[in-house]
Symmetry: C2
Subunit: 940 residues, 2 copies
């Protein structure tokens, strides 16, 4: 059983007016917090920087002072008596000092809390009849009775939350008194942790007590010794020693172990006044243990020379492991069944774990992303297919596919959406059908059916296993490309405003009278204005017609303002840029110093929502007619001549049903690659998902939805990388910091199905939300798009190796580059070369993507895999392990074998060391004593 966590409080003896009292001066949960000089403030938690000196002095103190282990103590006065008796018995203390020391030690304790919440020890003494039991009737005794000390349990304060429930306290008391001529030292371990009245700031029972009283003039030195023992007490390994020590020697050995591990900063290179912020991560006790017993592995930062490679190997990044999800079972549907088996136990938790405030912001964020996407793609699809699939179909399809997928898929964090390649395919298909007199919807249905069957085949044969060849190289290439497309689309759409609402740059305010736009009747009706014929043109009041009506009735617009629209373009830009910048700033707010953590986290989580609200408000306030989000309000197909069900037979010749197998193959490859690579990105190990994934199950449902959507005449859907990453990003969990100063750790993602389902249900009912949604200007949503693209490009905080970070390195002189682990191990020019290859690949993909070849997109991803394979010839496996991953089958066996050998070696060594380490450390004690002697200020 592990030992309880120790909370350490250090109190120093202070003169408060006439009275002596013990004043809390520092505390340690894991890091040190000091009471600042004013006495009203806790310092920030910081790493305790000690002087070597004080550690040696402490060592001497423990050698010469009283060490009582497993004392049966129930109250402070009794414990103090016990210690004093022992010292007197051993001749270390003159009996006439008994009273005085007891008096000092039982002085009131004043803690660093706001209100005085102590009752006096005397009260307790009276109540239990214990405190005053053995007190002689001297002056000292009477004073001792007056010692105030609290026994009521302190109100649970905020700080208590930072201390584990099972914690025990160690109390350090140091002070200088005028009646001693040599120090009085005691280290006590109680047999049972006991609440000793007001000794401790928090209601945690005391287990250890360290007392150091000494002659005046050395307060600083005593303080340092107190800090040293306090720091030791919160050290994982030393506290273990303290709990298990059988005698004084064990404690000394513990100090020596500690000393052997300490990190030393040269005095000329560091100012001891600087408080060192707690590091992001500290070595675990286990690791330190092994370091200690295998001293060669203890490798301080600057280890010069690389001759001894053991330690380096140890920190090598773990090989690319995709786990059993992608094993090739060789059985029919083996992978699918495993997926179901894996995911089924999590199914209930996938729902109840969704209830969290964070989910709300995630739903809002992703919902807005989804409907923007649905509207954009809906509009484009409508254009491409002559409204056979329009905005209405897009909404319905998104809602249906999304809900089903999030409900049953292997990875419900993935968000389905229309994607570019599919759009291009539909466009080509529609043109082909139109030109060849083939019914588009029926052809499409058959392609969907074939594709669905092909997906099932891929699922049944565990074909998804091939994606284990996708390393970070491929993932980054793909996701960067998609991010770039997102960013460029957002900017393009924004710039579109300047095209739709041209600005009249020649406008001169003074010549406002010269600007007009009139609708003049065309005297000779143009042949195409058919409607005008039916109306009596002369009946019209032409000047009252709007622009559209004017054109409709064949009028012509005459004037110098006709083609201009004032303000809208600039306003759109302000809304777009404002939304983006505000989201970025609010997201960053989490890392600012203002306001409590929780509020900041909330602001950061809801940054997008707040930015949207702000700029929707601004838009309303100014009241310009900026383009707004318009969702369909009626439930009917966009094209009036089509129904909700596409029938499979009747319109095309029979051979079309078979021939559609060929285009279906393209669609299948397209869907397979798009879907699975997004899934790989979502399932990256950096996301710390614990519920596993299900590539086969995902593909199965994508196939099913293909067929269903084809029958309903809805668009096809696959995983959307950028929105899925945004989904994960908005569901990230961080640990609440435990000990003060400990950095919160990324724990993983709130994996559940609820947010996804809600997003798509909301998408479905958007028809009814139209009255609310119509206030949202489109430029605001483009701003959100821009944010999504940029955020997914720069990656979530966890990926420090990312492509984007490496691109930045190009612009940094090497001395300013961040201390990335891979830079310590891979030469910069190799890193740059690798990045360059990625940039070239990306450029090629980008160029191809902009042409009609985009339909071969999935093949290009395969191309990326080939490029990566070729990189094996250019880069060493060592370098690739750091900047990419090692391909399966490469060097794995070798590595493993080596690892095994190392292991056994280590074990042997460990054993040998462990045997003699005991003896060794026991003897080191000699120095300290001498050091103290020599420096002629031995406090002990």
């Amino acid at each position: 059983m592990p030992n309880p966590t120790l909370f350490t409080e250090m109190d120093t003896l202070q003169q408060d007016g006439d009275e002596l009292e013990w004043k809390e001066s520092a505390r340690w949960v894991k890091f040190e917090e000091k009471v600042e000089d004013g006495g009203e403030r806790w310092s920030k938690p910081h790493v305790s920087t000690l002087s070597l000196h004080s550690l040696f002095e402490l060592r001497t103190c423990l050698q010469t002072g009283t060490v009582v282990l497993d004392l049966e103590g129930y109250s402070l006065p009794q414990i103090v008596d016990e210690i004093i008796e022992r010292q007197i018995d051993e001749g270390m203390l003159s009996p006439d000092l008994r009273e005085k020391i007891s008096f000092v030690l039982l002085r009131k304790h004043r803690h660093q809390t706001k209100k005085p919440i102590h009752r006096s020890l005397a009260d307790m003494g009276k109540a239990s009849g214990g405190g005053a039991r053995e007190c002689p009737s001297a002056l000292w005794s009477r004073m001792a009775i007056g010692i105030p000390i609290h026994i009521i349990v302190l109100p649970m304060n905020k700080f208590m939350k930072k201390i584990p429930r099972d914690a025990e306290a160690s109390n350090v008391l140091v002070g200088e008194v005028d009646f001693l001529d040599k120090p009085f030292v005691a280290f006590v371990r109680l047999a049972q942790a006991t609440t000793l009245g007001g000794l401790t700031e928090v209601p945690v029972p005391t287990r250890f007590l360290f007392i150091l009283l000494g002659p005046t003039g050395k307060a600083k030195s005593y303080n340092q010794i107190g800090r040293a023992i306090a720091t030791l007490m919160v050290d994982d390994l030393f506290s273990d020693v303290a709990y298990k020590a059988r005698d004084r020697e064990d404690l000394i050995a513990g100090i020596d172990e500690f000393l052997d591990e300490v990190i030393v900063l040269p005095p000329g290179e560091w100012d001891p006044k600087i408080r060192i912020e707690p590091p992001k991560k500290v070595p675990t006790a286990d690791k330190r243990k092994s370091v200690y017993s295998l001293n060669e592995l203890g490798q301080p930062n600057g280890t010069a020379g690389g001759s001894g490679g053991h330690a380096e190997d140890e920190e090598m990044p773990v090989a690319h492991e995709l786990g059993e999800e992608l094993a090739h079972t060789g059985r029919f549907c083996g992978g699918l069944f495993l997926d179901i088996k894996r995911k089924l136990p999590w199914f209930p938790s996938d729902f109840y774990e969704g209830f969290h405030i964070q989910s709300i912001s995630a739903v809002l964020f992703i919902y807005l992303g989804c409907i923007t996407n649905a509207i954009t793609f809906g509009g484009l699809l409508g254009d491409a297919t002559d409204n056979y699939q329009g905005v209405m179909e897009s909404f319905l399809g998104t809602a249906l596919s999304g809900t089903v997928f999030c409900m049953f898929s292997g990875q419900p964090l993935i968000i389905l959406s229309s994607t570019g390649p599919i759009l291009i395919f539909e466009k080509l298909l529609f043109e082909f059908s139109k030109n060849n007199g083939i019914d588009y919807m029926e052809l499409r249905l058959w392609i969907g059916i074939h594709s669905c069957i092909q997906c099932f085949l891929l699922v049944a044969t565990d074909a998804s296993y091939i994606i284990k060849y996708m390393t970070r190289f491929t993932e980054e290439g793909f996701s960067s490309l998609i991010s770039f497309i997102f960013i460029s689309d957002a900017i393009k759409k924004m710039m579109g405003s300047f095209k739709y609402y041209p600005i009249n740059t020649d406008f001169k305010p003074d010549y406002v009278t010269a600007y007009k736009c009139e609708c003049l009747p065309c005297l000779s009706p143009s042949p195409y204005s058919s409607t005008s014929k039916t109306l009596n043109i002369t009946d019209l009041d032409w000047s009252q017609l709007s622009k559209k009506e004017c054109v409709k009735y064949g009028g012509s617009l005459v004037g110098n303002t006709c083609k201009y629209v004032p303000d809208l373009a600039l306003m759109s830009f302000i809304l777009f840029f404002g939304t983006y910048s505000m989201t970025v700033s609010l997201k960053k707010f989490k890392f600012s110093r203002y306001f409590p953590t929780k509020l900041r986290k909330l602001i950061s989580d809801f940054s997008i929502f707040m930015a949207i609200m702000t700029f929707v408000g601004l838009d309303r306030l100014i009241g310009l007619k900026t383009p707004k989000l318009i969702v369909p309000t009626e439930f009917k197909p966009t094209r009036p001549d089509r129904g909700w069900i596409v029938l499979p037979f009747g319109k095309n010749p029979w051979w079309v049903y078979l021939a559609s197998f060929v285009p279906a193959l393209l669609v299948t490859i397209l869907i397979f690659m798009d879907q699975q690579i997004s899934a790989v990105i979502v399932n990256r190990k950096e996301n710390k998902l614990r519920k596993g994934c299900g590539y086969h199950l995902d593909l199965f449902w994508v196939g099913v939805l293909m067929a269903v959507c084809s029958f309903l005449g809805l668009p096809w859907y696959v995983a959307a990388t950028v929105i899925s990453i945004a989904h994960i990003d908005s569901l990230k969990m961080e640990s609440e910091s435990s000990a003060p100063g400990e950095q919160p750790q990324f724990l993983g993602v709130r994996e559940q199905r609820l947010t996804g389902i809600l997003v798509f249900v909301l998408t479905g009912v958007s028809i009814f939300l139209a009255p609310i949604l119509q206030f949202i200007p489109m430029p605001v949503l483009y701003g959100v798009f821009l944010y999504m693209g940029v955020a997914s490009l720069s990656g979530i905080q966890v990926y420090t190796f990312s492509f984007w970070e490496r691109i930045k390195l190009y612009m940094m002189p090497s001395k300013y580059q961040p201390d990335f682990p891979f830079l310590r191990h891979v030469p910069l020019r190799r890193v740059h070369l690798f990045t360059l290859v990625q940039i070239i690949c990306l450029t090629v993909l980008w160029v191809l993507k902009s042409t009609v070849l985009a339909i071969l997109f999935p093949v290009m991803i395969l191309g990326l895999l080939v490029v990566r394979k070729m990189l094996d010839m250019v880069f060493s496996q060592h370098d690739l392990a750091w900047i990419d991953d090692i391909l399966p089958g490469k060097d794995k066996k070798d590595k493993k074998k080596k690892g095994d050998k190392d292991d056994t070696k280590k074990k042997d060594k460990k054993k040998g060391r462990a045997d003699d380490s005991k003896d060794k450390v026991r003897n080191v004690k000699i120095y300290c004593h001498q050091l103290a002697d020599l420096e002629q200020k031995k406090p002990c």
Copy 2:
């Protein structure tokens, strides 16, 4: 004479293919730079974190190895031979190892440089006939001859710049060899620093040599020992010991001194793999010396408890010292003469020190600020005085006063400008004159003359000394107020765009045909349109008239667009906000990691210029008629009926000449306070000015200029706080970092007269610059104004105590607050209270300033002084010393007396300590040896 700086290089023995070679693995100028694993990269400079262990091992090494001090060495082979002989003589080495060790030690050295620039040792040996002199004819000898080593001086590389000219090198060689069974250790100090061929990366002569060869299997341990000695060698105190050591014992004592000072990090709270960035400041060797000899003062960060107050006192901020500049001489014009005496010697350097690239950016920045100010105030003054003083006068006055002041004043960094209080005074004065039939210009001239005389009186009596009562409290109150006014003016002017160019928010793009604005003739000519009478109204083509003409000829504007101006307001906003944000971002760019420091500094220095250029470009690109900067182009008074000289007599009755004494008094107080408080802010000690200031001289010139401007009918000028701060900010100097990793320090300000003079000469010739200046949109300049206000509010980097920082504290939970020194010493609630008082004062001032009471502004500043005086009753002097300054005469004597006593005490102590420290440290050596023994891995 101080010892030369030591550059330390550590080489480790490596197997390169078949050959052994010494490979550079780390180097130290002050901090450690390590060769990264790939061997192609220097790590960032970092604090060397050592293990205590390695220090003890090093100690043992020096105790047991060969220590040769003041060896007469001229070449590496000779030195190596010498060492080996000694070891053999002392029986520490078996003679048959002689050849092998010599062979290993003379292997080629490979440095961390790009190109191979070494010539072989053999060449050198042949040339000097030395290298091979004593070589026996054995196999080893022949090999030794083949050792390549360079003798040519390395080309001066960038790194050389970081090493002081007089530096010497210490070389550390460590490695493991298979033929030794116990380590071979040598520490050599050469009698003369000698360039030992290719031993060192840079052409620095070697003074020290540390060699450690040992049996295989302990490379890591040897490396650590090597790092330990290297770190010691660059330690200021130890290197001193190393240079002066008489024997081995001295070196050991040096290590012990070092050990006694080291800072220890507990292994459980720090990960040794983290490289610690060099701190901003390290304790100087002198300080450390005193710490060492007075151990009680060595106070690591967390000193718990405040009982020992000595050390605290030591770091107390120095009392508010304004220096001799403000002493009350008691002699007639005593202060003025002292000012002239002080400034005169600097006069030549005030010019030649202005030649620097930074000056260009400063001139551009301040010039733009000045002309914007001149135009704004010129316009306002013109309105207020019916164009008696208009934009032209404003330009001329600014140019004249500024040039004269910058040329002759005591503090040429101060920029003169029109200020708000003066503007209000002129307004009131003009109204008074008009209503009472008094000639304004003549009255103003007499007020100017009286005021000038009054200023001379103040100068002659050293009256400026009273401003020594202005502490940070007053300065901050004043400068914050001025900054707020700047910010609010900038925003107000920006928002004015929305008023001047109203947006038609009802515009519906489709109804473009419905929008027009027509000029219709008024059938009954209005009585005030006098011009229309002279024209035949019917002759006019009314529809061709511009807005202004239409109004002029009495037409009426009819239509729904007449009062709207499209796009300009939004465009102005984009320009305003864009200029501001871009300036802020570019300023911050200095702290980014991209691009080399110099380029970043350049970008940061020219940030305002670049932002202005960008947005001027954008404005040109879009081509909208945004309001532009229009400067006068003709040299003539704004009002045609006035000349350039105002005559003193003739227009007003005689008593006016005398009575103007009274308003002059108000002007004098106003000018005195405005001028001197700005001067105090400019002369703050944080700005590290070294050429002194001259309050009396400044006031003298302000008085002279008052009179001159009054005669010429130009506005009056005083010091402008915000622009002066911007001036200083743009002239800040930072040290080039010397050792790699050392942080650049703020050195001071480029104090000279050139930039100021140039700014005002440019202002004068702006009339000819009109063709260029007319491209600058006003909103861009308002953006610059906003930046100036915000920058002067948040203060220059140096002032970490600033008002603004303290306001931010209100919003920070205390645990996130930065570790400001004053927070360590003053309770937070006291800090908050102090800030609150400032906020209240500021609010009151702000409110008063917005009313006509603004003319009493100088009196309000006196009010601030009174408030500050009263704070002495609320706050302790200790608290005030930290968050403000102590008023003159307060507690000064006490402090001084105490300081004296402390000094003598310190000296005594120091002496006593110094005597016994020698003996003490000499004895500490015992431990290390034992430690090494016990841990059974003694490498020595």
